[in-house]
């Protein structure tokens, strides 16, 4: 277990000073600025008697992050993380260490999850901070007299993350198959644009298109999703279950091919 933690740590060191750090910063800043601006402009809807302003503010945060930023960010993150290894011709060294390929494979995947989680936590934290700034600028919003329902907000982020798993699986598979980052990244970005369109069409086939899952997993009030056929199975819905299945299939396939790759 300790050796696996050390391998994850090695993967995170590889990201130090890499362009992906600037991308993370960009995503964090852009989401925060948009959420702040949106809440500021939308003050008439936020300030409603008897309604908790935190709900609208937090939903705006997760919606902007989830619908517009999460998939392209994940696509670029995964492509970059794998490309660092390709660019440095690092596979031959990494695979000449006393670590199995599966071990390295999962360490890299966990490192991707850690970066995604870190970005989500920072965005969440800054979301709260923008609420306090809004409170200062617009005292009538009255965040101070209401409390954030942490379970609901964390639940939103968790659903977003689970719905993204399918995209993570596909992109990780593609990034390992192609030496450059252009193919996986271009594919991911185009698939994301199609995903936004598919999600907005309010049709059942969105259930079979993983790149639209973060858009439809929860009602972000961005599109109508009532005719897609989303069904709840306990905590998760069928979008999330599909996402988990896609993730497992592509991760298993990627690992299988990685074990047979000639370096």
């Amino acid at each position: 277990m300790m050796s696996f933690i050390r391998s994850i740590s090695a993967e995170l060191i590889k990201l130090k000073y890499a362009p992906i750090i600037w991308l993370c910063l960009f995503v964090v800043v852009i989401v925060t600025v948009i959420v702040f601006t949106a809440s500021y402009m939308d003050q008439a809807n936020i300030v409603q008697l008897g309604r908790n302003p935190w709900i609208r503010h937090s939903t705006a945060g997760s919606a902007i992050f989830g619908v517009f930023m999460l998939v392209p960010f994940a696509v670029m993150l995964i492509s970059t993380v794998v490309f660092i290894e390709n660019h440095s011709k690092g596979w031959k060294y990494t695979y000449s260490t006393p670590r199995t390929r599966t071990h390295v494979f999962y360490a890299k995947l966990i490192a991707i999850f850690i970066v995604l989680l870190a970005v989500a936590i920072i965005i969440f934290g800054l979301n709260i901070l923008t609420a306090f700034i809004l409170e200062f600028l617009l005292p009538e919003i009255e965040f101070r007299y209401n409390s954030m329902n942490l379970n609901v907000v964390l639940g939103m982020y968790l659903h977003l993350f689970v719905s993204l798993l399918g995209v993570i699986g596909i992109q990780y598979f593609l990034s390992l198959r192609f030496k450059g980052f252009l193919v996986p990244m271009s594919f991911g970005i185009i698939a994301f644009i199609v995903g936004v369109i598919v999600g907005s069409l309010n049709k059942p086939f969105a259930l079979y298109y993983p790149y639209s899952y973060p858009n439809i997993v929860k009602d972000h009030h961005m599109f109508l999703i009532d005719k897609i056929g989303i069904e709840q199975y306990g905590f998760f819905n069928n979008v999330e279950i599909n996402s988990i299945i896609v993730f497992m299939v592509f991760i298993a396939l990627a690992n299988f091919l990685e074990l047979r790759k000639r370096i």
Partner: protein, 299 residues
């Protein structure tokens, strides 16, 4: 005792593209083993097979006396490698690159400083490796392979891109490592580069081992392959009288002969004199190891 042993290894990227054919190698423990061959002969593929980066179709690779299929990847904790150019994360410093390696090999941070001193890169600080010279990059690659104090060091063309000073520095480091009891296997396509430090040699050509043995054995082979140029009054006549020997006309007055031993030379001179051929000059050709290597790989 062989610390690395390849037995009848065959490997092909595609059924038509056979890279290695029945290759057997024995690297004695504590030796510096020079693995020679022209570009594309199969050197890198062989080294990659030893490191488990690829799997052989046929045959067995044993390291530390055990089949690597059974000991992979554990045996790699005692093996250091530098395959072709160094694998460096160029956006990071030398220290960070070694820090990554230290995580894989479970080496304390204090060893990173020590190894940086060994390869004379301790002064590089936060400088990114993309700004390093080729020699510095290669030295860092060597540091990466030495960080965990391996028993075996596998180096593929380690002098690539190094200037003469760099080559001498590397040679000194390798000699020191050998004195410390490490086994070093290094490949090269230039014999002159390795003949000064190796004690064992393997020569590969077209995916087959054409020579394996000590440097002394190769030098003995050299003594048996002497080429002498003669300047005489009539080379055609001279060659006619020496028709049983391996000779070649160079021009009207010059011809060359390949001898199996130096004892043949007075016999030839005597015969030519007896046949009335005037001998003006006898020029022994320098048959260095490089020529021998070329001859072996050509044949």
């Amino acid at each position: 005792m062989s610390i690395i042993q390849l037995e009848n290894i065959s490997f092909a990227y595609t059924p038509k593209e056979v890279v290695l054919s029945d290759v057997s190698i024995n690297v004695p423990k504590g030796s510096i083993y020079g693995f020679l061959g022209v570009n594309g002969a199969g050197k890198s593929t062989t080294l990659r097979l030893i490191l488990g980066l690829m799997k052989a179709k046929k045959g067995q690779v044993s390291v530390f006396g055990e089949d690597i299929n059974k000991t992979y990847p554990k045996y790699l904790s005692k093996v250091g490698s530098l395959i072709e150019s160094a694998s460096l994360y160029e956006h990071l410093s030398a220290y960070d690159n070694l820090k990554i390696a230290s995580k894989y090999f479970n080496v304390p941070n204090s060893d990173i400083i020590k190894i940086l001193e060994t390869v004379k890169l301790e002064h590089t600080g936060k400088k990114k490796t993309k700004d390093f010279s080729t020699g510095m990059k290669q030295r860092l690659g060597l540091a990466l392979s030495l960080l965990h104090d391996p028993e075996i060091l596998i180096l593929d063309e380690p002098t690539n891109g190094l200037d003469p000073n760099g080559i001498i520095e590397l040679r000194n480091i390798l000699k020191q490592l050998s004195d410390d009891g490490k086994t070093i296997m290094l490949s090269s396509h230039i014999l002159a580069e390795v003949e000064k430090i190796v004690d064992q040699l393997g020569i590969i050509n077209n995916g087959q081992i054409v020579f394996e043995g000590s440097l002394q054995k190769l030098q003995d082979l050299k003594k048996k392959n002497i080429e002498v140029h003669f300047r005489v009054s009539d080379s055609t006549m001279a060659m006619k009288h020496l028709s049983t020997l391996r000779n070649q006309k160079l021009n009207e007055f010059k011809f060359s002969i390949k001898l199996d031993s130096s004892e043949e030379l007075p016999v030839i001179i005597k015969r030519l004199v007896e046949k009335g051929i005037d001998i003006y000059e006898v020029i022994p050709q320098s048959s260095d190891l490089e020529k021998m290597f070329l001859n072996i790989t050509k044949s």
